[in-house]
């Protein structure tokens, strides 16, 4: 089974820990006085971040866990504060005394540590990578995140869906369309209405456009990290064109606020012309980039994610598919199936495979966008004033990084518990297994080939 998420919530007399797999879901009730339970980490290694986060958020401890260090609560965070408990209502915290964090490090003769971040050398989000090095060879790497921890799960509690909307759409800018679609899906579920397929065509069109922008950015940045900056110049031009298309359609370059219950008519001819142009661009790009041996010398066999590791860590999205695991939320989606969706995957799991996977996905998205475009028509519905029915609603959506899981528990028209698991949250955890055959100079290339979100992971 694949572990999707493990998260907790507080009920009146007990804590609930929900463990969600692809085939089943289990709910454990824990006593409030000394909440503790068995760790899943022996069987599911990626459970560790979920469990460490639950421990920080709720003060629930896990026995038989190989790692009990704090995750979200960093050096200056006050001790014994559990922000996700209902009794915690503070809007401000003061810094406590500095407590050093014990990094996972290998020690020995000639072994040294390289610490990178949280502020990186380029225009990148903050995060820390800690390497144990034997010369150039990477012996181990610890990924440490949550510098961008904004307390979003708590922020949206006890407010209405309408009030939470602008916060949720800005969790991760690169995936905003995916977050908005997940959110509107839950809004429809909560008023017990079906998400109209007339809306879906338009929303999925924007979701694929977002995927194109993200993939083209990566198709430029991956070669750039291997010293081939011409590809970045080329692909960033295409992603700029597509951002302008997004602006043309939604009046915002990223599509903030774009997913509503209204579809206005769009200029099909103009959009179609743009898509045809991008089709030519990707064809030309592929033909060109496949023919550069020095680039493929860097891509091939670098940063291999084996199928076994991908499986045991519950990896999703582009990374999983490049390692031969066909995990994609779009597979079971009827509208995608009707619009020519093909499940794509690679075998080798290296940087090259992730690069090729993106090229193939761009082509596949373009085919589907043509199909969606034919079906987009004017539509209007108002759901804002309708009352939500109490309950626990969840949804899955395939963002440009991978499977996004969102769950909202609604009570008396207010959010009781909001939980979201970005694809990055599980994928970051498998990153360290991909370094062992490579030298430290390959790290930026490997990291970029995965292009995971920090903001979506840190919340």
């Amino acid at each position: 089974m694949r572990l999707i998420a493990r998260y907790a919530k507080e009920c009146d007399d007990y804590f609930e820990v929900i463990t969600l797999f692809d085939r089943e879901k289990s709910v454990d009730k824990l006593d409030k006085k000394s909440p503790s339970m068995e760790s899943l980490t022996a069987q599911y290694p990626s459970a560790i971040w979920f469990e460490r986060k639950i421990a920080d958020d709720f003060g629930i401890s896990f026995f038989n866990s190989f790692d009990t260090r704090p995750l979200v609560h960093q050096e200056y965070f006050p001790l014994k504060i559990y922000p996700m408990r209902k009794e915690f209502r503070k809007k401000e915290l003061t810094f406590s005394k500095y407590r050093p964090y014990q990094y996972e490090a290998i020690e020995g003769d000639g072994v040294f540590q390289v610490a990178v971040g949280p502020i990186h050398a380029g225009i990148i989000e903050p995060g820390h990578f800690h390497f144990s090095q034997e010369g150039e060879k990477m012996l181990h790497q610890e990924v440490r995140h949550f510098y961008k921890y904004r307390g979003i799960e708590k922020m949206v509690e006890e407010i209405s869906l309408k009030e939470a909307r602008p916060i949720i759409e800005k969790i991760s800018g690169n995936e905003t369309i995916a977050y908005q679609i997940a959110f509107i899906d839950i809004c429809f579920q909560s008023i017990q209405k079906e998400y109209p397929s007339k809306l879906k065509y338009y929303h999925y069109f924007l979701l694929e456009l977002e995927r194109l922008i993200h993939h083209f950015t990566d198709l430029g940045f991956i070669p750039n990290d291997a010293g081939f900056s011409t590809a970045l110049a080329y692909c960033s031009t295409i992603s700029e064109n597509l951002r302008r298309l997004m602006k043309h359609l939604t009046n915002h370059r990223f599509g903030f606020g774009a997913i509503t219950t209204t579809v206005v008519t769009i200029n099909n001819d103009y959009v179609k012309e743009m898509l045809l142009k991008v089709e030519k661009d990707i064809e030309w790009f592929e033909d060109w980039i496949m023919d550069i041996p020095s680039l493929w010398d860097r891509f091939d066999t670098t940063g291999i994610l084996t199928k076994e590791d991908a499986k045991s860590y519950g990896t999703v999205g582009v990374m999983a598919r490049a390692s031969g695991l066909e995990i994609d939320c779009r597979i079971k989606n009827k509208i995608y199936q009707e619009s020519g969706f093909k499940s794509l995957s690679q075998k080798s799991g290296d940087v090259g495979a992730r690069f090729l996977q993106r090229i193939e996905e761009v082509k596949s998205s373009l085919t589907m966008m043509h199909a969606f475009l034919k079906k987009i028509e004017k539509y209007e519905e108002k759901i804002e004033d309708e009352t939500s029915i109490d309950g626990d609603y969840h949804t899955f959506i395939e963002s440009s990084i991978g499977e996004l899981f969102m769950s909202i528990d609604i009570k008396e028209n207010k959010i009781e518990r909001f939980f979201v698991r970005d694809a990055s949250h599980v994928n970051w955890q498998v990153l360290h297994t991909m370094m062992l055959r490579d030298i430290i100079a390959d790290f930026p290339l490997i990291n970029k080939s995965c292009d995971l979100s920090y903001a979506g992971n840190d919340l």
Partner: protein, 169 residues
């Protein structure tokens, strides 16, 4: 390689025609003149994300695409605060980034300036509400020399903002 150049030649101009965006061109000229006068032709920016959604970073990256090509005007995003004239701060300044942001500022040599990017840092029109995990840039007591508004500010708006900053100092 011959195949590449043959096909490349058939594609002609990939971005927009030079004369198309008059306003942007005028901005560029002014920006370059200002940087030449006030920073001897080179303005070095250290970008620090203190807890954004990554949209501001994406727009800063877009500044180096062939449409905007900021490097040509003498503006560089540098890898170390020691090389920087300006610290460009995006994001809400989270509890966890607070000390790292101040460390970065302290490492910059005088004279130095701080520009806040986007609606997040000042939290005035930001979607994010008060939170125990957010400190906000006001709590750092850093002097903000200029604010580039927007959520996120588009590349054009960032260029305009930088020009206004240069005219102000």
């Amino acid at each position: 390689m011959i195949k590449f150049w043959k096909r490349r030649a058939s594609q002609k101009v990939l971005t927009e025609k030079v004369e198309q965006n008059r306003e942007l061109n005028a901005l560029r000229r002014e920006l370059k003149e200002n940087i030449h006068k006030k920073f001897a032709g080179s303005l070095a920016i250290r970008m620090v994300d203190s807890g954004s959604c990554n949209a501001c970073e994406a727009e800063c990256n877009a500044l180096s695409n062939p449409y905007y090509d900021l490097d040509r005007l003498g503006i560089y995003f540098v890898a170390s605060p020691r090389h920087a004239d300006v610290m460009l701060v995006s994001g809400v300044v989270t509890f966890n980034m607070y000390h790292h942001l101040l460390d970065c500022y302290e490492q910059m040599a005088e004279p130095k300036w701080v520009i806040a990017l986007g609606d997040c840092p000042l939290m005035e029109s930001s979607s994010f509400k008060e939170s125990f995990a957010i400190k906000g840039i006001k709590s750092t007591n850093l002097k903000i020399d200029y604010l580039i508004k927007g959520c996120p500010p588009s590349p054009d708006e960032i260029i305009k903002g930088l020009l206004e900053f240069l005219e102000k100092i």
